[in-house]
Structure formats: structure tokens, C-alpha cells
């Protein structure tokens, strides 16, 4: 579709049962397209941070933040400016590595991408790699010929650069 954009939304929400349900429900009900969502504690007690990657046209994306703002347990919602944020994702990748040649090839790639080998078995290597989604894609493309046996990605998380933050005044 034309005019499609992808944006990253950071939301601070109450650390309460049911909040994830309300947010997920809102996205389903209003036909918003979640590409990834990550959830975790923040430096502030009782507050959870959700980082949501959504795609859609301009109007839909405006509705996403407005509708999220209406949820009572959502304290603050910001659409992060792409040019002003650092984004990271973590991936664990299990690759088939039955012989010494394959192993050393894979280890070379991992070093170039500044990843780590975190598990070794006679037939496999497990790699941990952190970076922007693009970097992870690039690494996965390199690994494909060896045979990716299992892949787990965390989804994207992000923070604004510099002094800017979405912290809540207490």
C-alpha cells in the first residue's frame, strides 16, 4: 500500500494486571498493525514501558497514539522521532554447524557483526546478536545458507537520544 510508514511508539503504563490485554485489544479492535511489541520494567516503580512498532498510513498512526492515550492505565504515549532515537533488537539464532570449516566460517561472521557464540554442541552453534533490525536481517541472510534451526527475536526496543525522555514527573 502507498503512504505506509512504520513508527515506534513508547508508552509508559501502569504495572497492573490487564494492561497488556487492553493495549493488545485496542490494536486488534481498531485494525492497527503491530509489527513488534516489547514490554519491561522502567527505572520508575510501578511503571512499565511498552515499545511498539506499528505500520500504517499517516491517519492511522495518529489514531494509534490518540486511542492509546484514552486507555486509563496508559500514562503517557509518545511517537518517537526516527532520526532521534536509538533502536535495538536482540536475536538468538541456532545454526547447523556439523564440521570444523562451517564452524570457523560462522564464528568469523559473528565477530564481524560483534555477536557472541553462547552455546556449542556437536551439531550446532547458538549466536546472540544485538543491533538494529536491519543489522539482524543482514546477519540472518548470512546464516541462511548454513541452515537456521531456530530463531528467537525480542522485537525492537528504543530510547530517545540525549537529554530527552518521556519520564513521568513524580
Amino acid at each position: 500500500m502507498e503512504n505506509q510508514k512504520t513508527i515506534v511508539i513508547a508508552a509508559l503504563v501502569e504495572n497492573k494486571p490487564g494492561v497488556l490485554h487492553s493495549v493488545a485489544n485496542l490494536f486488534r479492535r481498531r485494525n492497527f498493525n503491530i509489527e513488534s511489541i516489547t514490554v519491561g520494567h522502567t527505572e520508575q516503580k510501578g511503571i512499565t514501558r511498552m515499545t511498539i512498532t506499528v505500520s500504517g498510513d499517516e491517519k492511522t498512526l495518529e489514531q494509534v497514539t490518540k486511542q492509546m492515550n484514552k486507555l486509563i492505565d496508559v500514562i503517557k504515549v509518545t511517537s518517537l522521532e526516527p532520526e532521534n532515537i536509538v533502536t535495538r533488537e536482540l536475536a538468538l539464532i541456532k545454526v547447523s554447524a556439523p564440521d570444523a570449516k562451517t564452524r570457523s566460517d560462522i564464528i568469523n561472521c559473528v565477530e564481524v557483526f560483534r555477536g557472541h557464540i553462547i552455546d556449542v554442541s556437536p551439531e550446532t552453534l547458538m549466536t546472540e546478536i544485538t543491533g538494529t533490525p536491519d543489522k539482524i536481517e543482514a546477519f540472518l541472510n548470512l546464516m541462511k545458507p548454513y541452515g537456521i534451526m531456530e530463531l528467537a527475536r525480542t522485537g525492537l526496543t528504543a530510547l530517545s537520544r540525549g537529554i530527552k525522555s518521556i519520564k513521568i514527573d513524580e
Binding site: V13, H21, K70, K76
Partner: protein, 570 residues
């Protein structure tokens, strides 16, 4: 802060009482027994026993819409709670402050015999079920948190854009005793209803309105909710701007006022649909530009600069693009706009636009005349208007009866026309009438019904008779599910399927079976007599009015068309 030792159930009722609750509609069951037991000690709260939880929820909704104060309903866990769902969804769509309180299976107990999450008898995940249809919902975990939760529920339900809130109370929480204190502050950090309108936007709005040659005001339900009808009228009279209403806004403008042009929309008044499209500046207040109101958006006010006032920021830009967005309470915004306007505007006596409005009115809304002695909906509703006092409250069911009422029954005051707009719930009107009558016992309340809709909640006749809450039901009896029959006639080449209701039941006998009174009428004169009798009656009255089963609601904007493509005469 002083605390008192009491049970969760008593804390709940005490908190409701402190919120000014005098009436509760509900049906009890196992999981809410402690609350009902505590009701014995709370004589100030009157419990009204509905005969179906849907009826209780609609009654609470009707109570809220008629009075502007939140309506409260109770239900037990499981099926009691799920029976409330239609009523809650209905309140949500029409932004009505309903507080629903449900019992729930125990969340803790002796020997860790808690039941939540274990598919216990009559367990339903009512929090999960109602998440998308409530403004907020919450399951309390301890008796101590009940007063805070109740206070927050009322605050959330009644401020900002109002809406239903559900509180789920596990049975053990109702019975447990705790130190309770009532006056804790409400601080919900994720909820800040909009404050004053932005001065810059107000200035822009005023400038547009001052320069307008053909201003039109569109008033939605938000104007009624905000009690801003006087402010609306003042601006309309200053600018000599005609006022159209959305379906939910009916009553925001006295419909006999020279500047009133009626409802817009699919079954709107042709006068409103026509003049709205001629506007060069549109001031829309408290409306969400619903699809049934705007018709095809491509032809909706193409030439007008649009000012949109709404308390819900998400409504701005959701359905249509606007030139001046104002996020604020309708009353605050209208006062601010007026204060700007009055600095420059001189009160006018006449404008070319006013002349246009007058001419269009005589063409499109010719004066009423009694055309026939046949029982025709238009005429019946005009007669009804003459018989009812100004402040009488009319509720409607859904379908043709509802659209005829919107077209031909002139609302003269806010909160006197109560109908299910967003969800279009058949069966809403009658229990809502009971709720409205409970809130306004000294006024007449009339439900204008279709035979199909009335049957959906007719069991509440028992409630209205035994609780002594007399209302009048006028059944426009066409023997069919009229509105869908009309669509089959118009858009499915008269292939009628599953719309025939026949002559069952006999509504007079039905009324009598419940201890209410019933009248069959055969002519307009008999209709008048029956209505007069009903207004004198101290018991609920059902008036059965046979009408032609093939009568269409016209004018109509066919689905997918613009408001300029309306067919049929008013």
C-alpha cells in the same frame, strides 16, 4: 484519616451512597449475595428488580441520559454479568455514564480454595469480555480498595467523554472485613480530562464564523452531555446560523425554533441535509461524524471550512479532516467562542442566508396538516407531540419507529429524546423509559416502539408494574421487523425473508397479563383518547397502534450515497 471497620459489601454501598446514588437496577445471584444482604442496612438506596440484566443495564442508561447523573446496575457473576453486555456496549457507543457492578467467584478463601481462573461455577471473565466496551473496568482484590475504586469509577464515567465503567467484586472481597476509609483523593495519573479550549483555536474559530456568509452549526450528543444547549442557542442567534443536529444531538436545539433545521443523516430532515451542504463555515460541536450522520464523506460539506469541537481528541481527524480543531468540553468551548464573537459581532436582524433558510423551510418542511384519518406514523407522532407536555421524555426502540420519531416528533428540550444511536439496540427503549421515569418521577415518559423491539425486553412490564414506575408504550404495530423489511423491499427486490411477525402477541392481553393496562386503537381519535388516558393512568399503559406493514421511512439517503442524494419527501 479516620477509618471504620466494615465488610466489603457495606463499603461498596456506603461509597455508592456517598456518590449520591439513590437507585440501583439489578438482579441478584450467588456471587453477589453479600452485597444484597448489605442492602438490607442501606434503606437510602432503592433497589429496583429488573427481570433480565439487559433491562437493568438499559434502565441505568436511561436514568443517566434523562438526569445527567450516572445510572447504576448490579448483576451476579457469569450469566448475570454476560447478560449486561449488550447494555454496556450500548452505553459505550452513546457515551453514557453507566456504573455496572458485578459479583465474581471468590479470588481467595480458606485453604486456598480460590476459584478465579479455575472455571468455577458461574465464572465468566467479565473484565476480559468488557474491556473493549467500557471506558474503564477493574476487579477489586480487597475490601480496602473498594471506596477508592468506586470514587474513581464515578470520576471516570462522568468526566471527559462519559462512558460505562464496570467493577467486578469477588465474593470473598464482599464478605471480608477491613479497615475502610472513604475520603482518599482520586489521582489517576493516566487520566486527565481536557481542560480549557486553546485560545488560538478559539480565535481562529471566531474569525471564521465572523467572516462566514453561510454558517451552519451541527450539534451532536456532546452538546447535551455538556449541558451546553443555552450557549449553543446564544451563538446561533447571534450569528443567525441555522442549527442542525445529529441523531444523538436531537433535543440540543428546540425543534420549533426558527433556526432549527432538524437532524442530518440517512433518515435526516431534507432541510438539514440540504442546508448543511451549502455551508461555507461549519461549526460542529460534540459529534463524531458518524457514518449514518454524514453519508458518503466525499460529498460532505465540500465547500465549508470546518471547526470541530470535541472533548475526545481521538475524534478530531478520525472521520473527517477539519480546519480548526478544538479539544474541550462543549460548554467551555462555546462560551469561549461566544466571548470572542461578541467583541466584534453586532446582533443582526436579517441576512440573505437567513432568508435562504426561511424559504428552504417552507419548501422542504411544509406546515403540518392532518392529511388523513388513517393511522400514519408521521401524523401519530405530530399528534403525540401536541398531547405531551414540553418536558415529557420520549424513548424509542430501534428500526422504523425510531427513525419516524427522529423525523417527526419534535424534541423541545435536551434529554427528552432518548434512543440507542450508536449500537442500535432493539429492546433499549422500554427499560430505558423505566430508568428515565425513575430519575424523573414527575414527568411523563413514553416509549415509541416497534412490535419486534418491544418483545425483546417486554418482560420489564413486570418490573414497571410491581415497582410502580408507570410509563407509556406506544407500539407502532406493523406485524413485521419493519426496517429490515424496508431494506429487503428496496435493496433485495422484495425477497422478504424472516421479517414477518404476524399478530402475535396480542399486546393488550400481554399488558394485562402483567397487570398493566392496554388499549387497541383504530383511528387517530382513538389514539388521542388512549394517550390522554395513559397520561392520567398510574399504571403502565401499552397502546397498540396497527399501521401499514409496507410503510417506508422516507426521506432516505441510500447507503453509500451522499446527503445530497436523499430520496423521498418529508
Amino acid at each position: 484519616m479516620s477509618t471504620t471497620k466494615m465488610t466489603g459489601a457495606n463499603a461498596l454501598l456506603e461509597a455508592l451512597e456517598k456518590q449520591g446514588v439513590k437507585h440501583v437496577f439489578g438482579i441478584l445471584g450467588g456471587a453477589i449475595l453479600p452485597v444484597y444482604d448489605a442492602l438490607c442496612h442501606h434503606p437510602k438506596i432503592r433497589h429496583i428488580l429488573a427481570r433480565h440484566e439487559q433491562g437493568a443495564a438499559h434502565a441505568a442508561d436511561g436514568y443517566a441520559r434523562a438526569s445527567g447523573r450516572p445510572g447504576v446496575c448490579f448483576a451476579t457473576s457469569g450469566p448475570g454479568a454476560t447478560n449486561l453486555v449488550t447494555g454496556i456496549a450500548n452505553a459505550y457507543m452513546d457515551s453514557s455514564p453507566v456504573i455496572a457492578i458485578t459479583g465474581q467467584v471468590p479470588s481467595a478463601g480458606v485453604n486456598s480454595s480460590y476459584m478465579i481462573g479455575k472455571d468455577a461455577f458461574q465464572e465468566a471473565d467479565i473484565i476480559g469480555i468488557t474491556t473493549p466496551i467500557t471506558k474503564y473496568n477493574h476487579q477489586v482484590r480487597s475490601a480496602a480498595e473498594i471506596p477508592q475504586t468506586v470514587n474513581a469509577a464515578f470520576y471516570i464515567a462522568t468526566t471527559g467523554r462519559p462512558g460505562p465503567v464496570l467493577i467486578d467484586v469477588p465474593k470473598n472481597v464482599q464478605s471480608e472485613t477491613a479497615e475502610i476509609h472513604f475520603n482518599g483523593p482520586i489521582d489517576i495519573r493516566g487520566y486527565r480530562p481536557p481542560g480549557n479550549p486553546h485560545p488560538l483555536q478559539i480565535r481562529k474559530a471566531a474569525e471564521l464564523l465572523l467572516d462566514a456568509e453561510r454558517p451552519v452549526i451541527l450539534a451532536g450528543g456532546g452538546v447535551i452531555t455538556a449541558n451546553a444547549t443555552d450557549e449553543l442557542l446564544t451563538i446561533a442567534e447571534l450569528l443567525l446560523a441555522p442549527v442542525a443536529t445529529t441523531f444523538m444531538g436531537k433535543g440540543a436545539m428546540p425543534e420549533i425554533h426558527p433556526l432549527s433545521i432538524g437532524n442530518i443523516g440517512m433518515h435526516g430532515n431534507p432541510l438539514a441535509n440540504k442546508l448543511l451542504l451549502e455551508a461555507d463555515v461549519l461549526l460542529a460541536v460534540g459529534t463524531r461524524f458518524a457514518d449514518r450522520a454524514t453519508g458518503n464523506l466525499d460529498t460532505f460539506c465540500p465547500e465549508a471550512k470546518k471547526i470541530h469541537v470535541d472533548i475526545d481528541a481521538a475524534e478530531i481527524g478520525k472521520n473527517i479532516e477539519v480546519d480548526v480543531p478544538i479539544v474541550a468540553d462543549a460548554k467551555q468551548a462555546l462560551i469561549a467562542i461566544y466571548e470572542r464573537l461578541i467583541q466584534q459581532a453586532k446582533k443582526k436582524n436579517d441576512t440573505p442566508w437567513l432568508q435562504r433558510v426561511k424559504t428552504a423551510k417552507t419548501q422542504l418542511n411544509p406546515p403540518e396538516k392532518a392529511e388523513t384519518t388513517e393511522l400514519k406514523p408521521k401524523q401519530l407522532l405530530q399528534v403525540l407531540r401536541k398531547l405531551l407536555p414540553e418536558d415529557a421524555i420520549v424513548t424509542t426502540e430501534v428500526g422504523q419507529n425510531q427513525m419516524w420519531s427522529a423525523l417527526y416528533f419534535k424534541a423541545l428540550k435536551p434529554r427528552t429524546f432518548i434512543s440507542s444511536g450508536g449500537l442500535g439496540t432493539m429492546g433499549f427503549g422500554f427499560p430505558a423509559a423505566i430508568g428515565a421515569k425513575t430519575a424523573c418521577p414527575n414527568r411523563h415518559v413514553v416509549d415509541i416502539a416497534g412490535d419486534g423491539s418491544f418483545i425483546m425486553t417486554e418482560q420489564e412490564l413486570a418490573c414497571s408494574v410491581l415497582e410502580d414506575i408507570p410509563v407509556t408504550v406506544i407500539v407502532l404495530n406493523n406485524g413485521v421487523l419493519g426496517m429490515v423489511a424496508q431494506w429487503q423491499r428496496m435493496f433485495y427486490k422484495k425477497r422478504y425473508m424472516a421479517v414477518k411477525l404476524g399478530k402475535s402477541p396480542d399486546f393488550v392481553k400481554l399488558a394485562e397479563a402483567y397487570g398493566a393496562q392496554g388499549f387497541h386503537v383504530q383511528s387517530t381519535t382513538e389514539f388521542e383518547k388512549a394517550v390522554k388516558a395513559a397520561l392520567k393512568n398510574t399504571v403502565t399503559t401499552v397502546i397498540d397502534v396497527p399501521i401499514n406493514s409496507e410503510e417506508d421511512v422516507v426521506p432516505m439517503v441510500p447507503p453509500g450515497c451522499g446527503l445530497n442524494q436523499q430520496v423521498g419527501d418529508y
